[in-house]
């Protein structure tokens, strides 16, 4: 089974240019070269894929791919 982290990276890889390295520590708003509309699309993709809603507070609290992975895992656990 694919991990949450690997699926996030899979979604991202279709949106960013191939030369950009992505790791756990990558900062979403700063390091990916995505504009604000692309970031919205990214969030929507993740919500569709995991069938979750990422709540307001977590958007502000999430800075890195690692933070996002943890947040999505927590949301999925709550929903289960």
């Amino acid at each position: 089974m694919e991990t949450v982290g690997s699926q996030i990276i899979e979604v991202l890889s279709s949106m960013i240019s191939s030369g950009v390295p992505v790791s756990d520590g990558t900062r979403i708003a700063r390091d990916l070269g995505l504009d604000s509309v692309a970031i919205m699309d990214f969030v929507m993709e993740l919500e569709e894929r995991f069938d979750i809603l990422i709540p307001l507070d977590q958007i502000a609290d999430v800075e890195t791919i690692h933070d996002l992975t943890k947040a999505i895992e927590a949301i999925m656990k709550d929903a289960a």
Binding site: R27, A29, D35, S36, L56, D57, V62
Partner: protein, 586 residues
Amino acid sequence: MNELLPANYSGGVYRPADFATLTEALDYAALGNAGLDFYSGKGDLLQTLRYRDLRKQARSLARRMRSAGLAQGERVAILADTDADFVLAFFASQYAGLVPAAMPLPTAFGGKAGYISHIRRMIESSGASAVLSPGALLEMTQEAASGLGLKAAGTLEIFDGFVDDGAPLPEITPQHLSYLQYSSGSTRFPLGVAVTQRALMSNCRAITQHGLKIIATDRCVSWLPFYHDMGLVGFLLVPVTTQMPVDYVATREFARRPMIWPTLISRNGGTLSFSPSFGYDLCARRAASGVRADNLDLSRWRVAGIGGDMIREKVLSNFAESFSPDGFRREAFVASYGMAEATLAISFAPLATGIKTDHVDLDQLEAAAIAEPVKRNGAAGPRSRSFVNCGKVLPGHELEIRDADGNLLGERMAGRVMVRGPSLMQEYFGNHEETSRALSQDGWLDTGDLGYLIGGSLVITGRSKDLILINGRNVWPQDLEWAVEQEVDGVRSGDVAAFSIDEAAAERVVLMAHCRKTNESEREDLRQAIIETIRVRAGLDCEVMLVAPHSLPQTSSGKLSRTQARQFYLSGADGSGAPTNAHRQA
């Protein structure tokens, strides 16, 4: 679980906002069957709140808020999610004589710290006695309020322990403040527009009876945030004063799934909906990328309003083309002009006529402030541009165009737009200095916008102040400059100028910064750091122009001149006579 059904208007005699106060308006709306529906981005009906239930719950909450020690005239900050709790807290405040101030929501990844300090400054600026929050933002709210000595900070549940003693509620009169609106002012120095019941009702009446000519069978749809004037006044308070049903979807849901907007309009028979140009743009682009909603019927949409930023003719034209197969009529577009300082609306273009533009000679406009009409598409002709006609000022209000010295200007002479009338704010809350800068002794508001009149109809051409209007948001350049100075290594105070370039297609944000590096990779790092900082702190995309140290233009008093920085940028950007000390990199 019972399936929720959207609320519909039924019964009662329609009253077009002819009430003395907002509480009187809700008392009347509560006699009918209409109300507010809240949808998810996928189109599921999440909550429905009929006006009669809203009134009953709001009056009970008002009494419990008073039991908790909140007294008439005190302010209550409310973090404004698009949900029933916000609406309930807002109207409970109306009945209790409290003054609510809607606070924004966080928008950017990693923006937590900046968001908390922003909320804290607004709580302090309003002198709020309490702050209310959605459950999801509770921790951040409590952090923002810590040490401020508020009487209450939490979700609506904090009032559960207080009894509804059934005591009489205070009398609300037209001169009482209704709310504070925080969409003006920078995040560092927030300004709360203080609106009385009288001003609010005056603007609601003008919008209802003249601007939009609202009728009993109208229904509106909105994804605009409640913390902006167009979302709060236009799509919550105007509907309450006209007993109108509303369908809402949260702004963040719309941004992710823009097609939910036309979908809801189609499904529930919406007739009125507004957006800044960018909302139409998001939809048209989504449609162009192949995302279509099936079986849309937009034929009942009679007012597709545009306001909140410069109106983009091309964007609207794209939208109309995309959605005309679904019954959308381009005549439904209605240009409008307004601002929170005038409650909401100042003028509307005539209904059912679509967007009307005026095509003028740009050289004449810039050099002589004369709007000289020219023919379109004259390839050999002068530099020219179209501006949108925003219609006549609402009845009961006056509008004048004046030059920099305050002299009245005539037809087709461009100058400052000044407005006077019953819809204007009372003040910027608790800030006499800023109030007297905006409002004259004899009641004229300097809108900060530039424009001209044709036969009494207003055409907006730009702004006399530095404010950046982008995607319907007011952004103060000081906030962007400050964020970069605080967060980017090697950037000091006075090293950055932020401004926007208004083009026919869009408004672009530019940050011009001093750079002491000559190594190209270090220069690129600085550019990226500035772009990232603006994205995280302001949720905006910008471009960066690096210039030599000490080359940012200053005014005679030594202050940064953003106007000159913009001209400097433009002279370099079009390649004609770029200043030699500007190392411009695309």
